[in-house]
Amino acid sequence: MNKKNRKGFEAKFNAIRFAASILIAVLLSFIIILLVSKDPLTAVRKLFLGPLESFRRFGNVVELAILLSFTGLAVSIMFSANQFNMGAEGAVYAGAAVASFIALSLPMPKILAPLVCILGGGLVGAFICVIPAKLKEKWGASELVSSLMLNYVFFYLAKYFANTVFKDPNCGFVATYLLPTNAKLPCLVPGTRIHAGLFVLLVTVIVCVFFMRKTKWGFALRQTGGNPRFAAYVGVNTTFVIAYSQLIGGFLAGMGGAVEVLGMYDRFQWQKLPGYGFDGIVVAILANNKPQFVPLAAFFLAYLRIGADMMATSTDVTSEMVSIIQSIIIMLVAAQAFLAKNRQRMLIKEVKNNG
């Protein structure tokens, strides 16, 4: 079997395994719904077809997919360096908060204002995500644990400023002052809340794909993630690669938070960690860490989420069911030995056919 056939076979097998994982997850959700619901038919219909019921609902899917794409890109790039950095969660929160703070404190003209806010959010995210990498490089501290702890630290820090310095005392709920219109991302599609962040995302995806596939830095990153020893042997400065991969990932997550708050909200009002950074892990795994597949994976997860919300509002099944389904999907998609026996059989067949 030559190299090209081999590559084609791997792609084919991965596609089959991926489809099987989704199928198992779908079947599992049927079973769970059947077990707990008094009205399983409505629940299943809402979960899988709900987002298609109205234009507005479909808009919700796209809105959520924009944010999940940013965090998915962030995690893909951080995980590409084989670093289990969970900082995207804190970066999304702090990115959104800092973008709002900038918008509230610096009056700026249209177009410039959102760009500056997004840049600010991105820089904060980059700062948060590079810390675990630096701690590991300097002292060998586990990036997983330190990034999880840092999420809480930056969450409380940003929340403190939002709830004191920028808090609007006349607002009916805990939130900052109204964000100036100049800083907000305008709505693109009337009848939905799909906003100009979609363009920002498109540009970002293209840049990420180009970065990973066509630049020296992207190549060094893939090498470091694949086999760090070999990379170091051929002269790649792996510590540098790890540092910039976490910086870029954090920047993307912070950008995502900023785009979300400027496109979807009138005020910054998150009082809890929103979980979008962790969703980024799901997206990255579904997309196999490849930026070009991230929007698709984000769309899939967003669709499932909105469907679950609709199911929860009209039936007796809660939306948290989705976290069960998505965890099973991640574990199956990432399972190296899942369907391994079938793989062997397929490979033998392929070799016999092609010689």
Binding site: S142, V153, T164, S327, A334
Partner: protein
């Protein structure tokens, strides 16, 4: 501020340190066992959460603390067995599997709670039994020390007993030797006929059971009842404690106590006029600082060792 310094030297404060250390200590010991076998148990958070829910609901429905205990173990081992299946059989990266299982437990507990009690916030509609506090004769009469040690929850004593049990298991039994052997050199272990997979399964199961006890304490001791996401990072703090204790039981206990101290301190400061956000940040910030100090000192130690080895060779 002066009040706070006065307060941390009281028996009452010492008592609360032991109390809040309990769940961290259970989970940290769980991490010790798992890491010694070379498997990272990131799912501690989810295991504790699941055990806390199962324990609270189980004890509430059966009106029995023993059944509550059994249910808590069941809830924790449910998540653990998924971890074992995916990580050791389907070869999913164990860290990814752990992260996924934490998500599963976080959503799954809310889902189950809604199915059973039609409530998404807490199990307050179902009265949960709580493990008794035990007053120890003689010790309770000692001034200060008695106030700290006596009258703790049954599970708090169990947590400290477990330090000795885990120590004995790791260093005095054949199983413990196999666990450490598999963790240190899996190829050598296989070559003398030890199945690394089997040993890891046993280690993860013990780890899951220990973490379940931590979860049981949270919903049937620390609080009375389960509330959504009540573990709130304790599983991760415990992992940091185990890492600081170099995965050895007694130093891990000391590290857990340090984090328990930070946690108790944040509870005290919550009553002061310090902003809530900074108070809540304390345990997490302490963990990061602790992690850095530990990692830095270990690195220095290694460098010194290497230098000494070089000198010896010359």
């Amino acid at each position: 501020m002066g009040d706070v310094f006065g307060y941390i030297f009281t028996a009452e404060f010492g008592y609360s340190v032991l109390r809040v250390t309990t769940p961290i200590l259970f989970a940290a010991l769980a991490s010790v066992i798992a890491e010694n076998s070379g498997a990272s148990n990131i799912a501690l958070e989810g295991i504790m959460l699941s055990a806390a829910l199962f324990g609270a609901v189980g004890s509430g429905l059966t009106h029995s603390l023993l059944w509550g205990f059994a249910f808590a173990l069941l809830g924790g081992l449910l998540i653990t067995s998924l971890l074992i299946y995916f990580a050791l059989y389907l070869k999913t990266n164990i860290i990814l599997a752990g992260v996924a299982l934490n998500t599963l437990a976080s959503g799954g507990t809310v889902f189950l709670m809604y199915v059973v009690l039609h409530d998404k916030g807490s199990t307050s509609s179902l009265p949960t039994l709580v493990y008794p506090q035990i007053s120890i004769p003689l010790i309770r009469d000692i001034p200060v020390v008695g106030g700290i040690i006596s009258g703790q929850n049954l599970l708090t004593y169990l947590a400290f007993v477990m330090v000795a049990v885990v120590w004995a298991l790791l260093y005095k039994t054949k199983l413990g030797m196999h666990i450490r052997c598999v963790g240190e050199n899996p190829d050598a272990a296989e070559s003398v006929g030890i199945s690394t997979r089997k040993v890891k399964i046993v280690a993860l199961a013990i780890s899951g059971a220990l973490a379940s006890l931590g979860g049981a304490f949270l919903s049937m001791g620390y609080m009375n009842g389960f509330s959504r996401d009540m573990v709130s990072g304790r599983g991760f703090i415990a992992m940091a404690a185990a890492a600081m204790g170099q995965y050895s039981p007694v130093p891990t206990m000391v590290a857990s106590l340090i984090f328990g101290f930070a946690d108790a301190l944040s509870n005290v400061l919550a009553a002061m006029r310090i902003p809530d956000e900074f108070v809540k940040m304390i345990p997490y910030a302490t963990t990061i600082i602790g992690l850095i100090i530990f990692a830095a000192s270990r690195k220095k130690q290694q460098q010194r060792k290497r230098a000494a080895a070089l000198m010896a060779n010359q």
